[in-house]
């Protein structure tokens, strides 16, 4: 790593490859002036598992299950984006009913992911009772996911040309029961996250990303929308059956009338998206036509079709964290793809960290870094280098500092 020139008044702290916010490895190097962050450098790659290379030794159906394992939280959107890319190449028409079912599963995943994130954010500022509250709610959604797909996390529900399980009338009571439970609890969450004094103190005016920066740095998802950029693949380039549904791009001004681009605004966007997702699932169940759930149920036939197909295509969809895009190149007569490029949303949300963190305090690092909902993978050590004297600051210490800052505010 390049050594940066530092002036006498500043010092550098490397943080990571253990993540200060989530439990995944990424290394930061902060240049600090007292408590203020002057500059940030991010280094990545600690969990690079050459998934893309492994895919060139697998057929498209096998890749679906490999793609699922890229990320535990986005275990639906990666195979879905891959399926979209392959369907584009091979001109596979997906039955209408399957498109609706795909939206339902995508939105269930979004609810899980956003509520999980809300709990982590609360934990980062030392509000652990809210962590338990949110994850208790998430548990219900996971139960529903298990009920519908057979699994809580790696769902294995999507396939090329459709989905693997139908949602029938027998499933409806449980779905509505869970959705009503979510609606009942949404108000509780809204109150805690948006009205609570402590939350507002820690999140308002903190970690600001301006609209200009968000556009320039190609930020995606709630990170971009929190800064007022209207970018949402579901609305802009509707995939699945999103075009049939009533979706609007959510920016914080719909609630507060203004956009600040701070952590608070990103909380607003995610919370409102939970509500939006509940609404979308209800719309899907309401509008879903009858019909097939997959264009070709026989896997061997699908693979034979794909072997004959050649060309390149992209699949884009809105994952909980933002736009995910997969590029696939198939060669005629070859069973395995020639190239597979996966781009997860956090890839684009790395650079916006720099303007967000500059000017903030060390105690704000966890909540600001967490506010983009980064997705990498973790360890447990941070070292501070203070004018040659080296001491270590571990995750607990960093977390303790963050909690202390909250306490100072409350005092």
């Amino acid at each position: 790593m390049k050594t940066k020139q530092t002036t006498k008044t500043t010092y550098r702290i490397p943080i990571g490859p253990i993540h200060p916010a989530l439990k995944e490895p990424v290394a930061f190097e902060f240049e600090i002036d007292g408590e203020r962050i002057v500059d940030v450098d991010v280094s990545l790659g600690h969990v690079h598992r050459t998934v893309e290379w492994a895919a060139t030794k697998r057929n498209p159906i096998q890749i679906l299950y490999l793609a699922e394992r890229i990320c535990g939280i986005c275990s639906y959107c990666h195979p879905a984006a891959f399926a979209l890319a392959v369907e584009n190449i091979a001109n596979i028409e997906v039955p209408e009913r399957a498109e609706y079912l795909r939206v339902i599963h995508a939105e269930l995943e979004r609810i899980c992911s956003h509520i999980l994130w809300a709990g982590v954010a609360a934990h980062e500022i030392g509000f652990d009772s809210v962590l338990f509250l949110t994850w208790q709610i998430r548990e219900k959604v996971l139960d529903l996911t298990e009920y519908l797909t057979g699994n809580r996390i790696t769902k294995g529900i999507i396939t090329i040309g459709g989905v693997r399980r139908d949602i029938t009338k027998e499933h409806h009571p449980k779905i509505f029961e869970t959705l009503n439970y979510l609606k009942d609890n949404f108000e509780k969450l809204r109150k805690v996250f948006l009205d609570d004094k402590t939350f507002r103190m820690r999140s308002q005016g903190c970690g600001i990303l301006t609209k200009e920066d968000a556009l320039k740095l190609c930020a995606v998802g709630p990170t971009a929308r929190g800064s007022g950029v209207k970018k949402d693949v579901r609305v802009d380039q509707a995939y699945f059956s999103c075009a049939d549904l009533d979706i609007e791009c959510i920016t914080p001004d719909v609630l507060t009338g203004e956009v600040n681009g701070d952590v608070y605004d990103r909380i607003i966007v995610r919370l409102l998206e939970v509500k939006q997702s509940i609404d979308l699932i209800e719309q899907c169940i309401d509008k879903m036509p009858v019909g097939d759930i997959v264009s070709e149920p026989k896997v061997a036939k699908v693979l034979a079709t794909l072997k004959k197909a050649g060309g390149e295509g992209i699949g884009r969809m809105e994952a909980p964290r933002g736009e995910v895009i997969h590029y696939v190149k198939l060669v005629e007569g070859e069973e395995y793809p020639f190239t597979w490029k996966v781009r997860a949303p956090t890839y684009n949300n790395i650079m916006p960290w720099v303007p967000m963190l500059k000017g903030e305090q060390i105690a704000d690092i966890p909540i600001v870094a967490a506010s983009t909902d980064p997705c990498m993978s973790c360890t447990n050590r941070v070292a501070i280098v203070d004018s040659g004297k080296k001491y270590e600051l571990n995750k607990e210490e960093l977390h303790r500092r963050s909690v202390e800052k909250t306490r100072r505010f409350m005092a």
Partner: protein
């Protein structure tokens, strides 16, 4: 953001590129797909551009939309050449109006060099750094040329996405021989 500016149709976009770059633009393809019961359409445009005009084409794209969104750049090892494909999208924020534009450029393996676009789209930095380490291309004028994903002790001259002798095949077959 798009105040006063007319949004172009996919055909007009392709035409504007052809008018601007004439013979330097090849293999243009407009891919239309419909989705859902309402059969709404979305559009992917693909085009190949000569590498001498690549940067100008991105500048041209920036005249259509002030901040074109760069999703990522992907790459292929085509044997004698290396192909880079930049996946842009414009007109985001317009319901059902976003258009994906995929611009590909081929670089000879003997001199795989291309200019940076970080001055037009600062968010391109990470993807450009990744292309350097994964495909062994040189991005001229890149503000930060360090590795992103590969470890610092990964051997020089091995490019994981290449399919020739500089690819990772040797390392994979003999994992036990790779120096730790």
């Amino acid at each position: 953001m798009m105040a006063g500016k007319k949004r172009l149709t996919p055909e007009e976009i392709v035409k504007s590129f052809k008018d601007e770059f004439k013979a330097k633009i090849k293999n243009t393809r407009i891919e239309r797909r419909t989705k859902g019961s309402s059969k709404n359409e979305f559009v992917h445009i693909w085009m190949k551009i000569d590498k001498s005009s690549f940067k100008d084409s991105v500048k041209h794209l920036a005249t259509l939309q002030k901040y074109p969104h760069l999703a990522v750049a992907s790459g292929n090892d085509l044997g004698k050449t290396i192909e880079l494909i930049y996946h842009f999208s414009i007109y985001y924020g317009v319901p059902l109006g976003e258009i994906s534009i995929n611009i590909s450029v081929e670089l000879p393996k003997s001199k795989p060099e291309i200019e940076t676009i970080c001055d037009i789209i600062p968010g391109a930095l990470i993807t450009e750094r990744e292309k350097q380490e994964m495909l062994g291309v040189t991005i001229k004028g890149i503000p930060d040329s360090r590795r992103v994903f590969l470890a610092d002790d990964f051997p020089e001259g091995v490019y994981p996405w290449r399919k020739d002798e500089t690819g990772p095949q040797k390392m994979i077959r003999n994992l036990h021989e790779v120096k730790k």
